[in-house]
């Protein structure tokens, strides 16, 4: 998200530190009455301080489940089974006790939700939303917490923060509410912010403001951001790296620029084509991806995108392709991996 060279240097320096987030072969299996759904199916990545990872995929691709599993909001229980490891600031999220987990949530990691209309309790004032965690988790007294809450509102660009503290969520606009939700997530200065479709429920003009806000906050606070979106357009220019998810798996991951320049997976290519562009001539049909995401109770054998893929060959339906590094002219492209037998834009291979 940061574009200045100073920030880039800082990031490469940070990469040598312990990553803020390590996800290792994470799998979330949800038990439904119709059968088990592998919503997250073996995902691994790391995220360093100040870095932004964009996670992109259609509805139902498992990106929100991924976010919530990383948070530890989804854990092994009667309705689901989680395997693999998540380390946030070095702590193994799924090995923490309930109280340690609460400490983690109140401290190292914050979450921004999709719909600010539902993410705020309608019967609680804005101030209470912010002060309760400051008081419970930070041990602040009432005036301290209130002062800090006003600071937080100012930080997320809300005018007249003192007055807003005494208002109810329904008295604020959607954009303002999302700012409050972000302020809530930032209350304890997390090292990692998981933003799950933070702009989807907002007007286009407000979307931009919120994304700019997240970028500014990242520069100021140096946190890592996991930006989940169904819209590659939202992630473009905001993420340092992008992971494209399809049916619970990462099908391609690369530095943002490389991914947008030369996607290797046909699904990524199709997603990019589906972004409407202003310079398109009028009356041209918008590109769409035919078909629907697979039934996740019984996903296709082999590549899960094969049934919708225009480049599919017989071997695509035999065994799932693994996520392997991309090669250009016989040399591995650092940071770029994809899972496809018949990649596009891969002239050098």
């Amino acid at each position: 998200m940061s574009s200045s060279s100073a920030a880039l240097q800082e990031r490469s320096g940070a990469a040598r530190e312990t990553p803020v987030l390590v996800v290792d072969d994470l799998r979330t299996q949800i038990h439904t009455p119709h059968g088990d759904v592998q919503a997250v199916d073996g995902i691994s990545f790391t995220l360093g301080r100040g870095e932004t990872l964009g996670v992109v995929g259609e509805s139902g691709s498992g990106k929100s489940v991924l976010g919530r599993t990383i948070m530890g909001l989804y854990t092994t229980g009667p309705t689901m089974t989680v395997t693999g490891r998540v380390l946030i600031a070095g702590k193994d999220v799924h090995a923490l006790s309930a109280s340690e987990l609460r400490e983690l949530w109140g401290g190292d990691v914050g979450m921004v939700f999709q719909d600010p209309m539902t993410a705020l309790n309608p019967v609680k004032k804005v101030g209470v939303h912010l002060t309760e965690s400051l008081r419970k988790r930070r041990g602040m007294n009432r005036p301290q917490a209130k002062a800090r809450a006003a600071e937080l509102l100012a930080l997320v660009g809300i005018p007249e923060p003192r007055r807003r503290l005494d208002q109810y969520p329904h008295e604020l606009s959607g954009g303002m509410r999302q700012r409050v939700v972000i302020a809530m997530a930032l209350a304890n200065e997390p090292a990692l912010l998981i933003a799950d479709e933070p702009t989807t429920a907002l007007d286009v003009t407000v979307q931009r403001q919120i994304l700019d806000l997240l970028a500014r906050l990242q520069d100021e606070l140096g946190m890592a951001i996991m930006l989940i979106s169904h819209n590659l357009g939202v992630v473009a220019g905001r993420a340092d790296r992008v992971a494209v998810m399809y049916a619970g798996r990462v099908v391609e991951t690369a530095d943002a620029a490389a991914l947008f320049d030369a996607p290797h997976h046909p699904y990524t290519e199709a997603l990019l084509e589906a972004i409407p562009r202003l310079h398109q001539p009028p009356h041209v049909r918008l590109a769409a991806i035919d078909g629907a995401p697979p039934n996740m109770v019984a996903p296709p054998v082999g590549c899960r995108f094969a049934p919708r893929c225009r480049y599919a060959q017989p071997d695509c339906t035999e065994a799932p392709p693994s996520l392997d590094p991309a090669m250009a002219n016989g040399v591995v492209t650092p940071g770029h991996s994809f899972a496809c037998y018949h990649p596009v834009n891969a002239g050098g291979q």
């Binding site: 949530w105 109140g106 309608p122 309760e132």
Partner: protein
């Protein structure tokens, strides 16, 4: 808010008018002739006629109704027909505190029991605790209250001897003694209501717990207890509060079984006694008072929605 209140009060006045007319007409359905009730059998027809004339029973119905309503509005509910002749209002004033106290105590107990039970149930819906509580609630609901009352008397009064069997001490005499005597009857009332409230609140809590703001509170590191009491309870309480209002109003006049079991001088006994003896002014007066309380309770409940949900408060400004 002011305009809403005014509108509400207007509606209530209309409701009360209808109820009062119904009450008034109801009495003409009583099988007994008031004159016979007063004088006894075997008198001269002229004597009966004189009594009817005195009571105004020979006037046309609208005139009688307006007469009665006019006095009722000024707080005069007339005198009882059946001797000993007393002011209806005095009798009501003696019986009403008993019923109100029983109803309020019963409701209070029911809330005290049902809120934690519902939370416990909803927290792990479908789990063992939830199933046990649900089964218990259905069990309690299926037991008629006279049976539950008898069982409670048998155990707590007769076997254990912790509470008195059948006595009433007025609140004005001794608060401690009064509560001591009111405990068992209130408990009987609370039982069925607890089961009902637990079911309703549990279901609403389960719905609320699916909301994003619960997840958001969790993601802020709030404890389960904090989330339950501070985030989930208030938005989930509307159905229960509505039910509470209906129950509270209903109980004022219909704790007859409990009053009977514990020999308590409440409104239920008063109305039933008066109806049996054909004391029509007593029935009219008592039913009217019950109706007024019912309607007022529900007005309070309606107003409480605004306190519970700021969006409603706002909508009426």
């Amino acid at each position: 808010m002011g305009r809403t209140l005014l509108k509400r009060v207007g509606e209530l006045a209309a409701v009360l008018l209808i109820v009062s007319f119904g009450t008034f007409m109801l009495v003409s359905l009583l099988p007994n002739d008031p004159a016979v009730v007063i004088l006894g059998e075997g008198r001269e027809p002229a004597e009966y006629e004189a009594v009817r004339e005195e009571l105004g029973l020979n006037d046309p119905l609208p005139v009688r109704y307006l007469d009665w309503l006019g006095s009722a509005v000024t707080g005069d509910l007339g005198e009882t027909v059946v001797p000993p002749v007393t002011d209806v209002l005095d009798r009501v004033a003696a019986a009403l505190p008993v019923s109100v106290e029983l109803a309020v105590l019963g409701m209070g107990m029911a809330l005290l029991f049902s809120i934690p039970l519902a939370m416990w149930s909803a927290y792990r819906a479908g789990g063992r605790v939830d199933r046990v509580i649900s089964a218990g609630a259905f069990g309690v609901l299926s037991v008629p209250s006279f049976l539950a009352g008898l069982l409670i008397i048998m155990v707590f009064a007769n076997q254990l001897g912790w509470f008195p069997r059948a006595q009433w001490v007025r609140l004005s005499e001794s608060i401690g003694d009064n509560l001591y005597h009111a405990f068992l009857p209130a408990l009987v009332i609370a039982l069925a209501e607890t089961a009902l409230f637990t079911r309703i609140l549990r279901n609403d809590l389960i719905t609320t717990l699916q909301e994003d703001f619960i997840l958001a509170a969790k993601a802020k590191g709030m404890s389960a207890r904090h989330i339950m009491f501070s985030d989930a309870l208030r938005p989930s309480s509307f159905s229960m509060i509505t039910l509470l209002g209906i129950s509270l109003g209903r109980l004022i006049g219909s704790t007859v079984i409990v009053e009977y079991l514990f020999a308590l001088p409440g409104m239920g006994s008063l109305v039933i006694g008066a109806a049996n003896t054909g004391d029509f002014t007593m029935v009219q007066g008592a039913v009217l008072v019950i109706a007024v309380i019912y309607v007022l309770t529900n007005l309070l409940i309606d107003l409480s929605y605004g306190v519970l949900d700021p969006r409603i408060r706002r909508a009426h400004v």
